[in-house]
C-alpha cells in the first residue's frame, strides 16, 4: 500500500519558496568560523554599549560569491577557549546583543537577537528547547558591512572573544 505524507498547504508553500527546509545540522557545502577578540579601551574592538563591531572583510562571504544558509554563535559551554589566548563569552550575555546583516549600500537585510543564533538545546523559563540552527537565505550581504552590537556589556571582558560559524554555499569557483 502506498504511503502518503500529510503536508499542510501552508507548509508545502513554504517548502517550495525557500521559506522552510527539513532540519539538518550542516546546511551548507562549507562553513567558516569567524572569531572577534575584544580588546582594551581605545582600540577598534574595545568594549562599549552600542558600539558597532564590524566583521573583517571576507569576499567569499559576500552575496555575489556565497549564499549564506545558516549562522550560529558558539559560546563557552560549547568551546571555552578560542585558540587565540581568548576565552569565549558566556551564553548569558547573548540577550544583550543583536546582529545586523547589511548589503553593500548599508541597507539592513536582517536584524537578529544574538540569542536566536545560539543553537544548542537550552532551558528558558523552565522549559527545555531542542537544538535549532538559525537558517537563512541571504544572498545580498556584504560581509564587512555586517556588524553586531551589545546594548549592555555587563559580563564581557577584554580576555574574551566571540565566535560565529557561518554556513554557506559558494556560488562561483573563485
Amino acid at each position: 500500500m502506498q504511503k502518503h505524507r500529510i503536508v499542510s498547504p501552508l507548509v508545502d508553500y513554504f517548502l517550495r519558496n525557500n521559506m522552510m527546509r527539513p532540519f539538518a545540522d550542516m546546511l551548507g557545502y562549507r562553513s567558516k568560523s569567524i572569531i572577534l577578540a575584544f580588546t582594551a579601551a581605545g582600540t577598534p574592538y574595545s568594549i562599549a554599549p552600542f558600539k558597532r563591531y564590524n566583521f573583517q572583510p571576507d569576499e567569499t562571504l559576500n552575496g555575489e560569491n556565497a549564499l549564506i544558509t545558516a549562522i550560529e554563535i558558539i559560546c563557552a559551554d560549547q568551546q571555552i577557549q578560542l585558540g587565540s589566548g581568548k576565552e569565549n563569552i558566556s551564553s548569558s550575555v547573548l540577550k544583550n546583543g543583536f546582529l545586523n546583516i547589511c548589503d553593500k549600500d548599508q541597507n539592513i537585510i536582517s536584524t537578529i537577537p544574538l540569542f536566536n543564533l545560539y543553537a544548542p538545546a537550552y532551558t528558558s523559563s523552565g522549559k527545555t528547547i531542542a537544538r535549532k540552527l538559525f537558517m537563512t537565505h541571504w544572498k545580498q550581504q556584504n560581509w564587512q558591512n555586517c556588524f553586531f552590537e551589545f546594548a549592555d556589556t555587563t559580563g564581557i571582558s577584554t580576555t574574551q572573544g566571540i565566535k560565529f560559524v557561518v554556513y554557506y554555499e559558494p556560488l562561483t569557483n573563485k
Binding site: Y13, F14, N17, P22, N107, P113, L133
Partner: protein, 141 residues
C-alpha cells in the same frame, strides 16, 4: 522536521508611552524601510527580556513575566486584522517549543498594527513589546 528559513528580518517594537493603560492601542514604532506596504510577512516571534534586554533603539524590553499581559493585532494592506488579539506569550519561542509562528504570507501594513495591555501589570512607562518579523520584500523571490 522542518525549520524556518529567514530571508529578511527586523526587530520591531511597540512602546508603552505614558502611564500604561489597559486596552489602549499602542502602535508599532514606524520603520521607514518596511512601512510602505512593501513587505510580505511570513513568520513572527515575540521577544521578552529573557531573549533581548534592549532593542536596537535602546528601549527596555518587557520582562518575561509580563508576556501574559500583552496582546497583539496585525493588519494587512486590506485592513484585515488577520491576527487579532493574539497573546504575546504564545509568540515567544521558548514558550512554544522553540518554534516560530508561521503566517500565511501577506503584505502587512505596519502602520495599522498595534499592541494592547489586557492588564497593566508591572509594565513600566516606555518599555516595549519587541517582535522579530520574518519577511521578504514584495517582488523578491
Amino acid at each position: 522536521m522542518n525549520n524556518l528559513i529567514v530571508k529578511r528580518s527586523q526587530i520591531i517594537e511597540c512602546q508603552f508611552t505614558g502611564t500604561p493603560a489597559t486596552n489602549k492601542r499602542y502602535n508599532f514604532t514606524q520603520i521607514p524601510n518596511i512601512s510602505r506596504n512593501n513587505i510580505i510577512l511570513y513568520a513572527i516571534e515575540a521577544l521578552t527580556a529573557d531573549q533581548l534586554t534592549y532593542t536596537p533603539n535602546n528601549n527596555q524590553v518587557i520582562a518575561a513575566s509580563q508576556a501574559v499581559n500583552v496582546v497583539v493585532t496585525l493588519r494587512d494592506n486590506n485592513k484585515d486584522e488577520f491576527m487579532y488579539s493574539q497573546p504575546l506569550y504564545t509568540l515567544v519561542r521558548p514558550n512554544v517549543g522553540g518554534f516560530y509562528t508561521l503566517i500565511k504570507p501577506r503584505v502587512i501594513n505596519l502602520t495599522d498594527c498595534y499592541c494592547q495591555l489586557v492588564a497593566a501589570g508591572s509594565v513600566s512607562t516606555n518599555q516595549v513589546a519587541a517582535f522579530n518579523f520574518i519577511y521578504s520584500l514584495v517582488g523578491e523571490d
